[in-house]
């Protein structure tokens, strides 16, 4: 199945989702980007250069790890994990970012901007900008700046300017708006490095293309390791880039079930979640440059969302997923904050892995379903990132008292030093 074959429909549309809904002033910029992307996509040297860059700089291919302890404990399917947490900067975000870095250089631009939620994409973009020698400005919701300060610290030290966005809900969606505002002013020398498979065409296609490296590697690796295709593949879905990345390895395999795992927050009916498809609270709309399912009210205004994982805390979803979901090709489930904490504890203790809070949503769903599967069935989870970055959030969530008193001690120390 080739979701990017637009010969029978409108380019940039997946069913009725996708498209370009941008201010006219960006028309030429988007056209220029699209043309450049088409060129890259049809140039085998580009992909080769991309793969080489990721190999030499980011450590690809990332391995697949079998989790014998967790599988045994759950008593069902054999669980395997694709280790994109081992990437440089700690998540799959670097794949997309490095690809867009190459593309930006080809466009002849020397400045990049990016939105970031969890901070992973901003961290990755700041890293890429340092490496490519681009100027870099990162927009990040003020709420996210507060909860993901370590990433902000690194972005700044990598030379990026981080802007705390004080509008709206002060999270990812507001950072995206702010990026658009920068872009409509500075498009001449600026490339907008969108961080997930959302936004106007060609971003969903482009981000998916770069992230497809996960699925390409994973398919071959799991065949070699498990001796068969996986029965189910789980990935968390924020914007939906890591998920589409790994799913692309298996889209044409009818017997592989694909499961997208969204942020259930405080649960169905709580109104404090970011589950666009799993909870059926979302409806189709147009915002942030594209058409998809959004968590919005009947007036078309976006709702507040919530997740323990900043990187999943987003109103919209990859338009390709809206389509694949309606086609029954991808199933959507949600994991609540509480379930995420438990699954994280379990995964750390049984296998020595620390998935990011975002990623842990995929673990929750896999852990729920594994016991109902046969012992010779195979589960593949995409570990999109590592949890180190989330120490403040995780320590808060687990109510770690030693951590709290450490922070108090640090604060007292700073107080003393400043006096």
């Amino acid at each position: 199945m080739n979701i990017f074959d637009f010969s029978e429909g409108r380019e940039g549309y997946y069913g009725e989702y996708g498209g370009v809904f941008l201010p006219e002033v960006l028309h030429a910029t988007i056209e220029e980007l699209l043309a450049c992307f088409r060129e890259c996509k049809s140039d085998p040297n580009f992909w080769r250069e991309y793969v080489e860059l990721l190999q030499n700089y980011s450590g690809r291919p990332t391995p697949i790890t079998h989790l014998p302890n967790l599988s045994r404990r759950l008593g069902g399917a054999q669980i395997y994990v694709k280790r994109d947490d081992l990437n440089h900067t700690g998540s799959h975000k670097i794949n997309n970012v490095m690809g867009q870095g190459l593309l930006c250089r080809r466009l002849g631009k020397r400045r990049v901007i990016a939105e970031t939620g969890a901070g992973q994409h901003g961290f990755a973009t700041a890293t890429m900008a340092a490496r490519f020698g681009f100027d870099c400005k990162i927009y990040m919701g003020a709420v996210d700046v507060a909860r993901q300060r370590p990433n902000v610290f690194w972005m700044e030290n990598l030379g990026a300017q981080v802007i705390a966005v004080e509008d709206g809900q002060k999270t990812l969606k507001d950072a995206i708006n702010e990026c658009m505002r920068d872009w409509v002013l500075n498009m001449a020398d600026t490339h907008y490095v969108l961080g997930t498979a959302c936004g106007p065409h060609p971003f969903p296609e482009m981000v998916s293309w770069f992230q497809s490296i996960i699925g390409l590697e994973a398919r071959e690796q799991i065949m070699a390791l498990a001796g068969k295709l996986p029965d189910r593949v789980y990935a968390c879905v924020g914007g939906g880039s890591n998920a589409i990345g790994i799913f692309q390895g298996f889209l044409s395999d009818d017997n592989v079930e694909l499961i997208g795992c969204e942020a259930g927050g405080l649960g169905a009916g709580s109104n404090l979640h970011a589950a666009r498809l799993a909870y059926n609270d979302a409806s189709v709309g147009v915002a942030q440059g594209f058409k998809t399912y959004f968590l919005q009210n009947d007036q078309g205004n976006m709702k507040e969302t919530h997740s323990i994982a900043a990187g999943l805390d987003y109103i919209g979803v990859n338009p390709i997923f809206s389509y694949l979901w309606e086609q029954g090709k991808v199933r959507f489930e949600a994991a609540t904050d509480t379930e995420v904490k438990d699954a994280l504890r379990l995964t750390m203790r049984t296998e020595g892995l620390i998935p990011a809070l975002e990623t842990t949503h995929a673990f929750v769903t896999a852990i729920k379903e594994a016991p109902t599967m046969a012992k010779d069935e195979v589960i593949l989870i995409n570990q999109s990132g590592r949890g180190d970055k989330d120490i403040f959030t995780i320590a808060d969530a687990l109510e770690d008292h030693k951590w709290k008193s450490f922070i108090r001690g640090k604060s007292d120390q700073y107080q003393r030093e400043d006096n």
Binding site: L22, V25, H27, A28, I176, Q296
Partner: protein, 255 residues
């Protein structure tokens, strides 16, 4: 009366019309009415009523906050149309809806056009709706004599201007500079050149907006454009000086 006819008529009397801007429900609907009265008194020719949206990504800080505050206060689309209905009945200027496409999409395009017509609106500005995506809406609008106000920009190529011109009805909105609303634009030779370039591709009247703040800007546009579009500057005047501030602002503009 269609927008084009209305503008043509008014232009008989004035070399440059003025389109002003109000964010529905900000700071309140009462304040909106007061502002509209002042605009009427100042001889404003057209008014954009902005329907607030949660993601106003083409707006600058002042309008962003206005959108947010209005929504926080509970503004609904019904109230916006009601304001439009009242205003079109009471005032002599023409009113167009300004907003983001999701407001229209969520309601349904046919219903939107009908409600706009019912409320007496003459057109709409949807900055995030490109012509490629507006066929259905434009068709429905044409049937109802509602005009889509198309934007032409400094980054538009000649080829693009031709496409935009072909779709233009009622009024074309020439964006004087890149960026979002707010800030100041020098109404210099470049702007004049841009307007002239746009003229080649459309026969409908041309409004120019983004960063018009003073009498001098209007002078620069007179004889070049048909309508000067004033947004942020007026809201700023209200914010700092209330109704009197707004009055003074328009006075300084038109004297």
């Amino acid at each position: 009366m269609s927008l084009a006819t209305y503008i043509a008529q008014r232009r008989q009397q004035k070399p440059l019309l003025i389109m002003a801007h109000v964010v529905c429900g900000y700071p309140s609907f009462e304040a909106n009415i007061r502002a509209l009265e002042i605009m009427e008194d100042a001889g404003v020719d057209l008014v954009e009523l902005q329907f607030p949206f949660s993601e106003p990504s083409a707006d600058g800080p002042l309008f962003v906050r206005a959108n947010e505050e209005s929504l926080k206060a509970g503004t609904t689309i019904d109230q916006c149309f009601e304001l439009m209905r009242l205003a079109t009945q009471r005032f002599s200027f023409k009113i167009v809806m300004m907003g983001y496409y999701n407001t229209v999409y969520k309601m349904g395009e046919a219903l939107f056009v009908k409600r706009l017509e019912d409320a007496g609106g003459a057109g709409y500005i949807l900055p995030d709706l490109p012509i490629e995506e507006s066929k259905v809406l434009h068709t429905a609008s044409a049937a109802a004599s509602i005009d889509p106000i198309i934007l032409m920009t400094p980054t538009s190529s000649d080829q693009r201007l031709a496409q935009l011109g072909a779709a233009s009805r009622g009024l074309v909105y020439v964006v004087a500079r890149k960026g979002v609303t707010g800030g100041k634009t020098d109404m210099d030779d470049a702007v004049v050149a841009l307007i002239k370039r746009c003229r080649q591709y459309t026969s409908v009247p041309i409004g120019v907006g983004f960063g018009i703040t003073c009498r001098e800007d209007l002078d620069a546009l007179t004889g070049v454009a048909d309508v000067a579009i004033i947004g942020t500057a007026a809201l700023k005047a209200w914010e700092s000086g209330g109704p009197e501030g707004l009055q003074a602002f328009f006075k300084a503009l038109t004297v």
